[in-house]
Each structure stands twice: as C-alpha cells, then as structure tokens.
Symmetry: C2
Subunit: 345 residues, 2 copies
Amino acid sequence: MAKEPASAPQRRPLTLRDVSDASGVSEMTVSRVLRNRGDVSGATRERVLAAARELGYVPNRIAGALASQRVNLVAVIIPSLSNMVFPEVLTGVSEVLEDTGLQPVVGVTNYSPEREEKVLYEMLSWRPSGIIIAGLERSPAARAMLENAGIPIVEIMDVDGTPVDNAVGISHRRAGRHIAEAIIAAGYRRIGFLGTMMPHDHRARKRLEGFEEALAAAGLHVEDREFYSGGSALLKGREMTEAILARSPDLDFLYYSNDMIGAGGLLWCLHHGIDVPAKVGLAGFNGVELVQGLPCHLATMDACRLEIGRKAAEIVAGKRLDGVTSGLVIELEPKLEPGDTIRRV
Amino acid sequence: MAKEPASAPQRRPLTLRDVSDASGVSEMTVSRVLRNRGDVSGATRERVLAAARELGYVPNRIAGALASQRVNLVAVIIPSLSNMVFPEVLTGVSEVLEDTGLQPVVGVTNYSPEREEKVLYEMLSWRPSGIIIAGLERSPAARAMLENAGIPIVEIMDVDGTPVDNAVGISHRRAGRHIAEAIIAAGYRRIGFLGTMMPHDHRARKRLEGFEEALAAAGLHVEDREFYSGGSALLKGREMTEAILARSPDLDFLYYSNDMIGAGGLLWCLHHGIDVPAKVGLAGFNGVELVQGLPCHLATMDACRLEIGRKAAEIVAGKRLDGVTSGLVIELEPKLEPGDTIRRV
DNA sequence: TTCTCGGCCGTTAACGCTAACATGCCACAG
DNA sequence: CTGTGGCATGTTAGCGTTAACGGCCGAGAA
C-alpha cells in the first residue's frame, strides 16, 4: 500500500523507471520486489519499497497484464443491482476471491439481452481470467463469445437449461413445483399468481411454469393472475394484492414471484384484517433478509444466493479440490421456509 | 458487437493480425475500422468488419490502453452494495456515462478505511480516467493517492469537509438540523435516536451531530438512544424500537439514522397500536423507495442519490457546460418529505 | 585449486495495440 | 503536362511491464 509521497503532484506519470532510478537498481528488480517474485536480497527489497513509497508509485497493471498475458480480473455479469439477490451473490463471490489475488468486476445488463451482449464484449476486451454470468438464456452472439473466450465460464442462478461450460444454481422449475405441492398439501385450492412482467426474467418464468405443472398434476390451475413492471416492488405488491382480491375474492392463496411484492401483499392483508394464513395463504420467493423484519413471516424459498456466489467463484479460481474448472453443473437445493403465511397441516 | 464465429474455439487468442490476414489489409487499417477513427473506404471497412465478425475477434483493450495511454474506465468506490443508496447512485452515474464511451467500474470498501486504501490502489493501477468515491474522510495514504492520481476526482454524498478535488453531495449536518427543526416545530419534545454503530459511517454521524445541535439550540436534547450493527435492518428497527420504548416510554419522537430501521420501527408501532404520529412521531433518512410501500408513509429526507451520481459523472466525463473538472463543490438540497409520521401543525 | 551451484541482479525481447508520420494514388487547377 | 492537395493505406516506434535467459560472485565440494 502506498503511503503519502513527499513529492508534489507530478506531470509525467510515474513508471518503474522512476523507482529504479531512485533506488539504484534495475527496473526488473523493482518489478520483482513489487510483485514479491524471484530472488531479491532483503536490503535491496527495503530500498526499493522505500523509494516506491516515497514517490507514491502505483504499478501499471495495463502494462503488466500485457507483458505477462495474465489479468487478475473475474467478470461478474448480472441483470440488476436493485434486486438484492445479486449483491448477495456478489458477496459470496468476493468472499471466495478475496485471498486468490483475483478481483471481481461487475457488469449490469438490466435484463436486456442487447446490453448483456455489449457488457460481455466490453468485459472480454479486458481479457478477464474467468466469467460468472447470471442465467442460461442469451443471444447466439453472446453464447458464441462465451464459447470462444477460452476461459472458465460459470453460468449462475439457474440449472434448467444447457450451460456453455459450468453452471451453479437451483432449478427454478423444481422450486415452483415444490412450493405448489406445499400449498396444495396445506389444503389451499383457489390459487392466484402475482408476478413481474419482465419477459427476460427467465427464472421467474420457469418458477411459474413449474408451479403450474404441479397444480395441473393435482387437477388445479392458477385462477387469476396479476402482473406489474417497474416501480417500488413493495408498493406494487400492495396494489396488485388489492386488485386481484377485488377481482377474485374467492382466492385462498397468493403466490408472488418474489419476496418484495410478497411482503407488500402481506402488509396489505395485515392492514386490512385479512386472516393470514387461515383465509388467505401467501408465499414469495428468494428468502431475502427483509422478510424477517415483517410482523409476520412470509413463506418463501431460499435461493441459495451466497452459496451460488461462493461455488461459482471457487470454480473460476480453480479452488475446487478436484481441480475441475469445466463442464460442472452444481445444483443447489432451495429450502422452503414456511414462515407464518401457510396453514400448518 | 461480435456475431457467432464460424470457426471452432481457437487455442491461440486472436489478435489484430489475424483479422488483418483474413481481410488482406494492414493491422493499422483494421484498428482504424474497429475504432471508427481515421479515413477508411466503405469497401474495406465492410471487408474488415466481416472478417472480424467471422473470426469472433474481440479487441484487446489492454494493449489498446497501453498504446494510446487512454483508459475508458471510471472508478466508482462505495462502501456497500446492500445499502440501496449506493446502487441508486450507480444508476445515476451509469446513465450519464452511457453515451460518453466511459465505463464505470465499481469497488466496494465495506466502510473500512483499510479496504478503501486497497481498493483505491487496485483501481489506480488500471489508470482509470476518473474517480468517483464516497465520502470525504479517508486515510492519509488514500488521500495522497487521490491527490497524485492526476485525474478528475469527485468525492460524493457529503460536502461537510475538505474535498481533495471536486465534491457533489448534501450537507448531512444541515440535514440533521433541518429535520430536528421540523420535529420541534411539530411540537415534539422528548426525542429518542436510533442508529447504526458503524464508526466509519461518517455521514450518519454528521446527521446526528446536526440533529443534536438543533435540539440544543431549542433547549432540548436526545433523551435516549439505541444502536445496532449488522443483521436485517428492518428487523433491527423493530427490536430497537421495542427496546427504547420499553426503557423510555415517555418518548414522543423517534429519529432513525436510516429509512430501513425507521420502517421496521414504524411497522412495530402500527402492529402494537401505537398512535402514529399523535402519540409518537417517527422519521428516517434517505428517501428509499421502500417506504412508499408501507401502510403509512414514514417521514424521511431525500438524499438526492440519483442526482449525485449524475452530477459526479458529468464532472469526470467533462460534460459540464463550463468545462470545469476541478475544484468544484456542488451542494444539493435534500427535501424533507413529512409523510404521515410527523404531526401536521 | 578448480568446479559447481545457487542467490542475486541485469539485459533483451516481446505483449498487442495505436500515434505519428510516410507513401501512393487520383482528381483537378494552372 | 506538371504540381498540389486530400484521401486511403502502410510503416515505424514506442506504451510500461514481465518472461526468459545470462552473468557474476562467493561458498562449499571434489
């Protein structure tokens, strides 16, 4: 870490050369000291470090990366930062990458395939040493870029599909089925769905598909549905709940595509004296921390966000015991957290 | 944007040379085409683009940056991604940078000065063309690095202090005073404070200082306080509110250091039938979207997050009409949003 | 004594690209 | 017919660093 340099702000940016001049050794030796690589005597090491600190020298990784053909960056490409799920995945990634010398670099696609393509291209142009990217669905061009990148790729969040290389995630289809079965088992029969309109949120779509499959298997179906896009999810949850119950007052269960709108719905029900879970049951998805703060715990399903981040990072960092960095598919098991909004049977 | 290449995954990574060979022109011409710079005839342009697409070539920005001494990256260094405030700032930054060719790169410090130093060093080693960094308080080493970087620096969120170069933010001290005055004007007298324990959240500290100043000026003081660290803020808000009201049942106002714990407190009060705002008034800080989803609107103060991100990005991008990129201090005015949790006078 | 060997440090040649300049060509003016 | 200027392209020389190798020197082995 650089300490404050004694010199005034310089015009010409500092190079290894400046440090080498200041310490009377070759640039190569300075480079060795700064990277802790190769043999350097304790005395010169000290001298070089002192000079570097004195000058406030910060190595130029651009030149370093070009010369060494190595870049310590891992691209992490996610759809959004406002959906708390993704910062949590990032936390898992950072944790594992922390002591590997690798560094995550985040790109955000806003659920747009075009932006994903652009972000990916941009990222690849920095020649990262690995890519962690959300989802399995992408444009042919994006897929081709991943296939040709020649670095470890990990597609995360989802395993319902064909990964380019590795995948770490849960089966959203199965998660949807699972919760539907729990709802049916609890005796609910007239079921409504509330979700987002985003056509590119494939995971929400798959959950709904799995959900409907399980209902169908029990001779049931989604009786009414309500969609939204944009805005405060919590508020939308309130509004949508009001709307769907006004339209279909007989519904006895509301399944929300995420916890945030679920929480809004729950607050609305509580505020309007609706008996949860006796008269109406509720469930969301993701297991976000927020639901723990509500007066009544929303049923939800943990999406294993932290673990997904960790496992993905382990793969790109080559940290797995078996050393495998290609062709892996790791399916995690989301746990149903019944909370207080599903009847106990 | 690259389309899918016909070739199989190559061993040797592609270079300009491969494209130049494939299209029968010099590397320089390929470079010109790919960067849209200099004169190239329409015919060769097409030929080159076709070859590049065919091969799936992605330019190597590392080499490009080294040769041109220009890097299209802007480092954005923030304390956290889980506090929704920062993703929102990022949104503002991205919006403005979108059509400038610049790209934000995020670094997270977790409110730790040591990590900030490390992240900053790391970022500087990529020679970004600008830095946007949260807060004004930092280690001497970090400050020195900023001073010597020789690029536009914008310190954001806060203007109560001495910026290294530019600053865009609000005065948290003044914001604290402002809300205290509103509380006093509404007739509240026995005031409690609930906040975070983080010693490095200087902005929360300054708000509290301003808050206490204004109370003192009116002959009042904070009668009780409650601190937390970590965990679900919403849940903590509930618990802390219960604790402080159990200990000091006479309090008639609770000031929360952020909206999240404020929301938890509000939910607790509503759930326990406490008359808000008649018996107890509440206020938070930040104006996060979430509060709009609550059954009753928490009083809050907008921290101008989006605007801060935009203005900061405009400075580093040299987008200001006056062209100034140095020595600016832009103070934004946070608006008090009284909501439903402060008595109307 | 000579020979090896390992620790320490320097030299050279890339890495893949672009700035700057050079070149060839053609149209058009004189 | 020659000169001139602009367009289209090529050539050269780095950018700041590191890989690879080479050299020197002193200590211990033969």
